[in-house]
Symmetry: C2
Subunit: 404 residues, 2 copies
Amino acid sequence: MTTQVYSRWDHLTPVERQVLRGVFWSGAASRGALADTLGFSKSRLNAVVSNLVVGGLLQELGPLSSTGGRRAEHLALAPDLGVLACVDLGATSLHVALVAPTMTVLAERREVADVRHGPGRVMQRVKTLLGDLLAEQRLRPEDVLAVGMGVPGPVEVHSGLLVSPPIMPGWEGFSIREDLAGLVDAPVLVDNDVNVLALGELWHARQPAGDFLVVKVGTGIGCGIVSGGRIYRGADGAAGDVGHICVDPLGPRCHCGNVGCVEAMAAGPAVARDARRAAEAGESERLAEVLAETGRLEPPDVARAAREGDAVALAIVQRSGQLVGMMLASLVNFFNPSHIVLTGGIVGMGPLWLASIRQSVYGRSLALSTRHIEIRPSTLGERGGVLGAAALGLLGVLDRGGRP
Amino acid sequence: MTTQVYSRWDHLTPVERQVLRGVFWSGAASRGALADTLGFSKSRLNAVVSNLVVGGLLQELGPLSSTGGRRAEHLALAPDLGVLACVDLGATSLHVALVAPTMTVLAERREVADVRHGPGRVMQRVKTLLGDLLAEQRLRPEDVLAVGMGVPGPVEVHSGLLVSPPIMPGWEGFSIREDLAGLVDAPVLVDNDVNVLALGELWHARQPAGDFLVVKVGTGIGCGIVSGGRIYRGADGAAGDVGHICVDPLGPRCHCGNVGCVEAMAAGPAVARDARRAAEAGESERLAEVLAETGRLEPPDVARAAREGDAVALAIVQRSGQLVGMMLASLVNFFNPSHIVLTGGIVGMGPLWLASIRQSVYGRSLALSTRHIEIRPSTLGERGGVLGAAALGLLGVLDRGGRP
């Protein structure tokens, strides 16, 4: 590895970048499938691949081709390209990982965090954890190929700066890129957390194609939009800010100043608040017990009480699902996605919550849009954020070369 | 013209098609601007252009270039390429036009229609009107380069067939393409009316770029979506079906079976129904007068009464605008469009209605999404549909050649 890592990515031709992107999206693709996908003749592909193997960017895998002489049929990114440093920062959590270019997680750390503590304190933890992981893996900062990071606020993608992040006081105009320059001498790619999650789902789907949504329901509610296989950002980079869609014109007031926002009525804090209110009002013995025993009531506690037959807890879970489903029904009518992936802490509420969402969407959306739609939790689970950040970093290097 | 029209479009190379598309989008572009847009060197562009001029597809316009020898600087599609037969079918209206490839309307007819009469009767009128217009312009069916048609229902674009059109009984599976084959021997392109309107707006913007919405409010409410300069159709071609987005969970029942759909509460029939109810209940003298005098109350009547100071009429206009604005606010939060173009019969309700929409969107959408957003009526006015249909037909020929 070492600094040679960078030089391998410089001076790549557009066609070489295209082949590398094709290998990334396909996982370990066969030459035949890759040539088909890229619209290349097999001989043209082989010529480009030979250069990339010699240049140390691709490796050949698997049995030798039966027809093509002594060439191995399958291709993957070279194993010694360096590692991707991946950061998934949520409103109340921090997940840091080292990921190989083949998208294998090599090492990771998760801990609670609070973005409201500001960039100084939070980024110090990020750097500490990254340093620990590198040491653990016996890697040096020079071995980091790129940093990818998702943050819970709007990002101006070219600069990597946060733009008026509503739940991140003190971060406006803070340069994560400059802050990390002291740790690693590699490109730093920053994007909104739901866009990063959507990139992870795109990678998982093994192709940069399709129209679908990735909806994160946790402390807030946000949506990553995939249109034609690309992350859709909107005219000002603000697309997907669905938490303040109104689901009840007579609903309670939200911190944004409006009434009836789905985030204020159905996200994690709303579920916790409703459960605490029911416990304190003596409406639910089960919830009151949990509150008395642990001093807290979080969405998973409410879901457990609902599964155990508590009617009040069940009503809270169903109400949250119904409201999220109403918001999604509007998006389905408008965007007609092939599927919706649900992620974020509250997804842990489980099947009762999901069933309420599905019921609400099927009931409120038009037949043509719901004929084939699938609504399911992310199969990447808690690793969706760091895997998306790895894809962000790697694609960033592929797009613009390896220098910071 | 004659049958030679077809042969000019056959055997075009991909690069030639690209240059023709560039000329179409730019209007009468200068060679310099066109080369920049396409990323061609000037000499490469000039070589392609020479072929296209010789082939009778392009014409040179304007003063001779000061630097390039005897070459005229500006380019346009050749004037004798034939005409585009354009049809804009609404739920209750029919607009037919002949349009030159330079997008000049040569002749047109508008009349009331009712799609519920079924394809036989409606298409007979389409063919009669097209025949009349051709005769009036002393053109023959062979002079028609392509037919473009917008219809008020979902269309399977490749086949041109209507798919479960909710307000078009009898049209399901009807082939407009085959029906028109008896009249003209040219490609027939069919799409949903709002997608056609969006294509017209894209042409008007002079570039196939941007993220914006075209919202038609008339008998129903529909939305054409432009994402990255292309019409976005969704996973099943059902995108933009926004009329059944819920704006009031306690609202009245819609014909779709749900409650509180924006279409049922704010489109033309709802405004007419509310006005008639107020007139009959003696709540508004002005509306009662109009009803007594003319026997009917349409949205423009309500808007006129509102402008003349009738408080009940004003409340009806504002309520419609407020509800359409609530629906648009959800779309703005999700899609972050640069602008929203309003079109359809009810847009004639005028500035009071528009002001209520804007107020509702600005009040309900997030600051980042509304910082630059523009909400305005279409500048193409009533010709938006036929101009969009012209663009649909011409781009269809550019994509696949001139044979039917």
